[in-house]
Symmetry: C3
Subunit: 259 residues, 3 copies
Amino acid sequence: MFEAKIDASVLRECIESITAVVDEGKLRVAEDGLKLRAVDPANVAMVSFELQRDAFDEFRFETGSGSGSEAASESTAATEVGIDFNKLRDILGIGGREEVNLKLDEQVQKLFTRMGSLTYTISLLDPSSLRKEPKVPELEFPVQVVIETEEFRRTVRASEKIGDHIVLGVDGEEFYMEVEGEMDKLRLGLRKEQLIHLTPGTLHSLYSLDYVSAMSKGMSHADNITLNLGKDYPLQVDFEVADGKGKVSYLLAPRIESE
Amino acid sequence: MFEAKIDASVLRECIESITAVVDEGKLRVAEDGLKLRAVDPANVAMVSFELQRDAFDEFRFETGSGSGSEAASESTAATEVGIDFNKLRDILGIGGREEVNLKLDEQVQKLFTRMGSLTYTISLLDPSSLRKEPKVPELEFPVQVVIETEEFRRTVRASEKIGDHIVLGVDGEEFYMEVEGEMDKLRLGLRKEQLIHLTPGTLHSLYSLDYVSAMSKGMSHADNITLNLGKDYPLQVDFEVADGKGKVSYLLAPRIESE
Amino acid sequence: MFEAKIDASVLRECIESITAVVDEGKLRVAEDGLKLRAVDPANVAMVSFELQRDAFDEFRFETGSGSGSEAASESTAATEVGIDFNKLRDILGIGGREEVNLKLDEQVQKLFTRMGSLTYTISLLDPSSLRKEPKVPELEFPVQVVIETEEFRRTVRASEKIGDHIVLGVDGEEFYMEVEGEMDKLRLGLRKEQLIHLTPGTLHSLYSLDYVSAMSKGMSHADNITLNLGKDYPLQVDFEVADGKGKVSYLLAPRIESE
């Protein structure tokens, strides 16, 4: 049994950080909070999400004998439920700036969401119908860049006008983003002192701009993001949600450069 | 001959309450003001509209021998003219916050609309080409609910994300709106004390959400609306326009529940 | 070699006045500023554009032996470069309210645009691939009307709801714009005292509303526009950009009235 109360805008921010990558996923509910890890249908991007219980105004979780999910046998202190996050986001977008009450009823396999006098009930998705939770690959990122989210997002928006792929790289003490079209080219170059943090180095990777664009929408409420970079390597973007009480990581596979 | 002056935003509010249900209709002009009653093409919804002459800053109406319409023989103190309200609304939407001068010339079968230096002239529609003015069915509604328009409209907007039909009902001292999708369900429940007025009862009806959505746009300027309800019965929504100097009623046929 | 610095919003205003008529064109860069003259693909509309060097915060222009363009033999003090203005506008729309650095490198045939840390590079278009710069016809306009841009634009927006062609004319001491649909008609009539200037007369011409609409978007930053009119004659619209340091003229061929 899970019951909680949370600010509607905080919940919306969390859900939007998930729907930037996946429509649905298995949410793991435990005593210390919520967790999710899911890959997109094309297996190119992954989102890892964690929300501490103290992000909630109220939080009550109890595992009972009624929880017949298979996951329960492995981890008796957690419950895994399949959720259509897109549907939840649509409704939260309308509800105004209220507080949201969440109540998970595994007996009837439903999530109840109450905003004021409005109750929204969704059936849980059958976890066996969902993509398997991905293994997180063991990755070591030689370079970290901490950048203002708005600077990153603005560059991504401009890049969309130009091409389909974007290069993220570091050249000495400069971080750069670069996208090339047939006739034109856009480049953001930020020196170490224009960033919040930079590990100097010389490396870059190419990514699909569609995915980077989608992710940049999911991070819009965070002030800063951390980009973890390597040479022809996945990109990992880390940022906080819920006033630091939640953490989101996006992982994106690189594209092989054709040249 | 009809000539009048009215605030542009008041006229726009009135026209929008009409175009929520019909594109065109027969407007009856008389000494005491304007009246319209029209059904939508599918014969599912009806709008009744009344605007008192004191909603106008100036109002002049005279029936003359020139009015050769058949309606004139029945009621010599009124004129009936066919108007394309959609066209009128489009132009009023651009004109700014001015005063509008209206002038009806039945000789040339035109309505002249003047906003500042801009004159908009529409040909009247041939009343014989319009759907017949509907008879108002004799209806008795056991239940009245008075609700804040914004609460109603917000629920309708959220409902659009979920399903095609909406239930409006009363259960004891609670008014509820309910819509079901394949996987999810939205419910607004308001107790008597959360409403402006409620007749207690136990009944509900099902309506097409498309129509309720359209109607909810037409009522956006009213603070409150009155919902008149029955069991598997039409819905009648009443509200005021023009600072109480106008009245609008929507009537909507119920859907037969398939279950 | 051309290098300059200019306010981003001023440059955007200039580019938008050009893209209202053409996507691309030959920009002539000289010591006294920039010039362009281009016709739309259908040869119906023309834009003439001039921006003085003092509209720039910095302006440096030098013709060198490296400029191998054919135009250079005719006018050694100017350079002509083919530019895709649509692409430039898209990027300027994102860059925020910064200053823009422009740098033309004819050796590599590129225009470099820098806004803060963002660099945007476009390849110049081959001037031989562009439509020839039009000859400006010798025109004499018997009538000038100076009107507030917003009054003109609002009437154009309303006209779009009604028809495909618009009449611009003068009747004695009144300027008018008129558009007719099948059932309706819109007319703006402004007397001399409601205008900034009017040459009295009796004449009018008919124009394609699509072109007038497009042009009206390009003039949105100007307070006033001057309409130069004749009888069944082209329309010339003049206005200032860049706080009076730039001038734009649109020329539009008339339509022959079918009646």
